[in-house]
C-alpha cells in the first residue's frame, strides 16, 4: 500500500514501565526487537493475539542499539557489549566487549553482512556479522569537546549501497567513511546541532543524534536539535540538516515550528520523496520533510518522547519506541 504522510494515524499502542531506547524489525515475521532501560532486549510479536514481550537478558546497561543482520539480531548497550543472538532460537551466540564506554547506536549494513557500533570512546567499530571479527576501527572524532569535556559519538548510518558509513558526534562533526578501505573520505560540520553555554550554565546539550542517507546516496540527512537558550530542557527546535556530502556542503536546514527537542531517528521513504524524523522534548514529535520541494510537509505530536523507530519495507508503517511506550502508526490511506 502506498504510504502517505497525510494519512497518518495511530494503529496500536503498548504501554510499558521501562524506557525503550532502540528497535529493530524482522521483515519476514514483523517481530520487533526492542532495547530497554531494564538492560534487556524485548521481543514483541505484533502478530500474536496478545503481544506479551519476551525479555532477553545479557546486558548490564541501557540497550541503545538493536539491528537485524543476517541470521542474527545484534544488540549493543551502555555496558559496552555487543551480543549476537540467533534470530530463531534467540540464544546468545557471541558476546564482545566492543567498547570501553557507552554504546550509543548499532546499525546493520543493507546486505546484513556488517554491523557498525558507535560509542563514547569516540570510536566506530565495524564488525563482520558472520564471523564476529572486527573489520575496521574508525577513529575520526575528538575525545574532548573544545571546552575540555568528554565528547560523545551518538549516531551512525550505512549508505543504501553499503559502500559508505557516516558517523556523527556531539559537537556536530560528521565523517563519511569508505567501507572498501576503512578510510575517511569526507567530513561535514553541523554545528547548529550543538549548544555550548559558556556563560549561564557552563555545560552543553545537543549533538548529532541521527543520520540517514537518501536512497540514491546523494544526500546525507542529519537530525538533532537547534540552538537552545535554556539548556536545562530540550526546548530547542527540532533540527534537520541536509548535506551534499560528496561536495562537503550543507544544502538545507529546517527547524520545527511545532516540534521541539531532539530528532533521534531519521528515515527516507524508499523512493526518496520525503523523509521522516522523530524524537521530541518531554513530548514526542514527528516531522515529515519533502525532499523534492525542500519544505516541511507536516509536524505532529505523538504520545511519548521517541528514542528510535523503524519503518515497514514500504514505509507505510512506523514503529516508534520511547518513554514507556511502543506506538505503531499507519501512513496508508
Amino acid at each position: 500500500m502506498p504510504s502517505d504522510p497525510f494519512k497518518f494515524k495511530q494503529a496500536k499502542e503498548i504501554s510499558r514501565k521501562d524506557i525503550l531506547l532502540s528497535v529493530a524489525r524482522e521483515p519476514d515475521t514483523g517481530r520487533l526487537f526492542v532495547g530497554s532501560s531494564d538492560s534487556s532486549v524485548h521481543v514483541v510479536d505484533l502478530a500474536a493475539e496478545k503481544a506479551e514481550p519476551v525479555a532477553l537478558e545479557g546486558h548490564s546497561g541501557y540497550v541503545t542499539g538493536v539491528a537485524i543482520a543476517g541470521t542474527f539480531v545484534v544488540s549493543g548497550a551502555y555496558d559496552g557489549k555487543l551480543i549476537w543472538r540467533d534470530r530463531k532460537t534467540l540464544k546468545a551466540e557471541r558476546t564482545h566487549k566492543a567498547h570501553d564506554k557507552w554504546i550509543r547506536a548499532v546499525e546493520a549494513s543493507p546486505d546484513g553482512k556488517l554491523i557498525a557500533s558507535v560509542a563514547d570512546d569516540m570510536v566506530c567499530r565495524v564488525w563482520e556479522v558472520a564471523s564476529g571479527k572486527m573489520k575496521y576501527e574508525l577513529r575520526g572524532h575528538e575525545l574532548m569537546t573544545p571546552s575540555h569535556f568528554h565528547s560523545m559519538l551518538y549516531a551512525c548510518a550505512f549508505s543504501t549501497d553499503g559502500a559508505f558509513l557516516a558517523t556523527g558526534d556531539k559537537v556536530g562533526h560528521i565523517v563519511v567513511w569508505d567501507l572498501a578501505s576503512g578510510k575517511p573520505i569526507k567530513t561535514v560540520e553541523s554545528t547548529g546541532m550543538y549548544t555550548w553555554d559558556p556563560r549561564a550554565r557552563i555545560h552543553s546539550i545537543g549533538g548529532i543524534r541521527s543520520l540517514a542517507f537518501s536512497p540514491d546516496n546523494s544526500v546525507l540527512a542529519v537530525g538533532g536539535m537547534g540552538k537552545v537558550g535554556n539548556i536545562d530542557h530540550l526546548e530547542g527546535k527540532a533540527r534537520l540538516e541536509l548535506f551534499d556530502w560528496r561536495a562537503e556542503k550543507s544544502t538545507k536546514f529546517v527547524e520545527g515550528d511545532k516540534c521541539k527537542g531532539l530528532i533521534t531517528k531519521l528515515a527516507f521513504h524508499p523512493k526518496g520523496d520525503w523523509l521522516v524524523g522523530a524524537g521530541g522534548d518531554s513530548k514526542g514529535s514527528l516531522i515529515f520533510f519533502d525532499t523534492v520541494a525542500g519544505k516541511t510537509l507536516r509536524e505532529d505530536t505523538v504520545p511519548m518522547h521517541v528514542h528510535r523507530f523503524v519503518t515497514s519495507e514500504s514505509a507505510d508503517r512506523l514503529y516508534l519506541v520511547g518513554h514507556n511506550k511502543i506506538s505503531i502508526w499507519e501512513l496508508s490511506a
Binding site: 546497561g61 575540555h148 549561564a200 557552563i202 552543553s204 536545562d232 522534548d281
Partner: protein, 434 residues
C-alpha cells in the same frame, strides 16, 4: 564633606571617600594599586595558618546535582539511571562510576546520604542550605560564610574573610549570600564577572612611589587622628583602610599563573578547576571561607548527558583539592564541602531528565574535624525516601561548623535577644565528626 570630592584628589580613582569606605565595608569593589603589605607570599604562612584555625571551601553545586549520579547510586533499579556503581577504598561503599578519583579517596571522605531538606525550590533551598534554617520575619540569619568569617577571621587580617566565586550567570540570584544580622562587615567579596576583583591593578597614571607616599600619608594622618580618640568608629575606620591595603596587596592571590604546571594539571583546564585552585590559594593565605559555585546542574532534560559532562569534572576537582591540601599539610585545617540547594528526583522524566528533589539526597565533605571514610544514613532501594539516619539542613550546617572547630551551640545576640548559631534542638551529625 562634599560627596563629589575625590577622596585622594585624583580624578583617576573616580570614587568618593564615603563611597570608598562604604565599599570597603561591604567588601565588594576595590580600589587598585599595589601596596606595601605582602601577606600572601609570606614564608611559613601555612604553618601559621595551621596554628590559627580552620578554613572552609564550599563547592556549591548550583542547580542541584543528582545524588544518584554521584554519592548514592541505585544501579539496576528503575530509578537508577544508566550508570554503574563502583567500589571504593572503603569496603562495602559504592559510588557512581563517574567518580573514580573519589572512589580511590573515599577513605578520606564523609558522605551523608540521608538529607531531607524538605525544600525543592532553587531560591528557598539555597537559602536553607546556606543558612541552615529559614529566616524569621524579624531575623535574617547569617549564612555559613558570614559565621565562619566572623568566627575564624582575624582582626588583623589583610585578606578578605569571605569570598564567593559565582561566575556563571544562572542561579546567582537564587543563591544570595548574606551576612544577615551580623551586618555588612561579614558580607562576602563577590567575584561574579571574573576571577579577579575589579580595579585591583594600580592605575598606570599613579606611580608605585606615589602610591606608597599616599598610603604613608594616610596612615600618618590616621594615627594622629586616632590618638586620644579611642572610639569604635575611628578604629573601624582605620581597620577598614588596613583591610583595603591588604586586599590591594593581594593581587597575587587572584593570579593563578604562579601555580606550578603540575598543580594546574591536577585541577584541570576548566573554569571550575581554576576557581577551585584559586580557593586553595585563598585558604592558604588565610581566607576563612571561600565558596566556589559550579553552575548549573538543573538537568530537567538529558540528566545523564549533563552528569556525564559535569561529574567527571567534579571528581577531578575534588580529588585535586584533597591531594593539594594534603601535599601542603593542610588536610586537617581545611574543610571541603560539596553540596547544592537540593538533589534530583529518582523518577526519570520523559526528557530523560531528573527534576528538583529535597527529600532524600547527599552531601559530601572532607578535612577539618571530620571522620574519614564514613557514610552516614541511607535511602530506600529506589532512593525515594530516607531509610535511616535522616538529617535536615540544620544538621548539615551544625556539622560543618563543628568540622571547622566552631561550637554549634554558640550564641550571638541581636540586641538583648540570644540567637544560637543553629535552631534549638539541632545537633551536628556525630557519626561523621572525629
Amino acid at each position: 564633606m562634599n560627596e563629589k570630592k575625590q577622596f585622594c584628589g585624583s580624578a583617576d580613582h573616580g570614587v568618593t571617600r564615603r563611597a570608598f569606605l562604604s565599599r570597603v565595608g561591604v567588601g565588594t569593589a576595590l580600589l587598585g594599586t599595589s601596596g606595601a603589605v605582602h601577606t600572601f607570599a609570606e614564608e611559613g604562612l601555612t604553618r601559621a595558618l595551621k596554628a590559627s584555625g580552620k578554613r572552609v571551601i564550599l563547592l556549591w553545586l548550583a542547580g542541584g546535582a543528582s545524588q544518584l549520579e554521584t554519592w548514592d547510586p541505585k544501579p539496576g533499579r528503575p530509578t537508577g539511571g544508566p550508570f554503574a556503581e563502583i567500589p571504593t577504598s572503603v569496603p562495602g561503599v559504592h559510588i557512581c562510576e563517574l567518580m573514580p578519583e573519589m572512589a580511590k579517596r573515599m577513605k578520606d571522605i564523609a558522605v551523608i546520604r540521608s538529607l531531607n531538606s524538605r525544600n525543592a525550590d532553587h531560591g528557598g533551598g539555597a537559602v536553607l542550605m546556606m543558612r541552615g534554617r529559614a529566616d524569621e520575619p524579624t531575623v535574617k540569619y547569617p549564612d555559613l560564610g558570614a559565621i565562619l568569617s566572623k568566627e575564624l577571621g582575624r582582626a588583623d587580617s589583610k585578606v578578605p574573610e569571605y569570598i564567593s566565586l559565582y561566575t556563571a550567570a544562572e542561579g546567582r540570584d537564587f543563591s544570595r549570600v548574606s551576612s544577615g544580622f551580623l551586618g555588612a562587615r561579614f558580607n562576602p567579596m563577590k567575584l561574579s564577572e571574573s576571577m579577579t576583583p575589579p580595579n585591583m591593578k594600580r592605575l598606570d597614571s599613579i606611580s608605585d612611589a606615589d602610591h606608597h607616599s599616599r598610603a604613608e600619608l594616610q596612615e600618618l594622618m590616621n594615627r594622629q587622628f586616632i590618638a586620644g580618640r579611642e572610639l569604635p568608629s575611628t578604629k573601624s575606620h582605620a581597620n577598614a583602610y588596613a583591610r583595603v591595603h591588604g586586599l590591594m596587596s593581594s593581587e597575587q592571590l587572584f593570579d593563578i599563573s604562579h601555580e606550578s604546571e603540575s598543580v594546574k594539571q591536577m585541577y584541570g583546564p576548566t573554569l571550575f578547576g581554576q576557581q577551585a585552585m584559586m580557593a586553595r590559594r585563598m585558604v592558604e593565605a588565610g581566607v576563612p571561607f571561600v565558596r566556589v559555585a559550579r553552575a548549573w546542574w538543573d538537568s530537567h532534560g538529558q540528566n545523564f548527558e549533563t552528569h556525564q559532562e559535569m561529574v567527571p569534572e567534579l571528581d577531578r576537582v575534588m580529588a585535586a583539592l584533597m591531594d593539594d591540601l594534603k601535599q601542603r599539610g593542610m588536610q586537617n585545617d581545611v574543610v571541603v564541602v560539596a553540596m547544592g540547594e537540593f538533589g534530583r528526583t529518582p523518577t526519570i522524566n520523559s526528557s530523560l531528565g531528573r527534576d528538583h528533589f529535597g527529600s532524600a539526597w547527599s552531601v559530601a565533605m572532607f578535612g577539618g574535624n571530620l571522620k574519614r571514610g564514613v557514610v552516614h544514613g541511607k535511602t530506600d532501594k529506589d532512593g525515594k525516601e530516607v531509610a535511616e539516619g535522616q538529617v535536615g539542613a540544620g544538621e548539615i550546617f551544625a556539622t560543618i561548623l563543628e568540622a571547622a572547630g566552631i561550637r554549634h551551640d554558640k550564641e550571638y545576640h541581636v540586641g538583648a535577644r540570644p540567637i544560637p548559631l543553629v535552631n534549638p534542638g539541632i545537633k551536628p551529625i556525630k557519626e561523621v565528626l572525629a
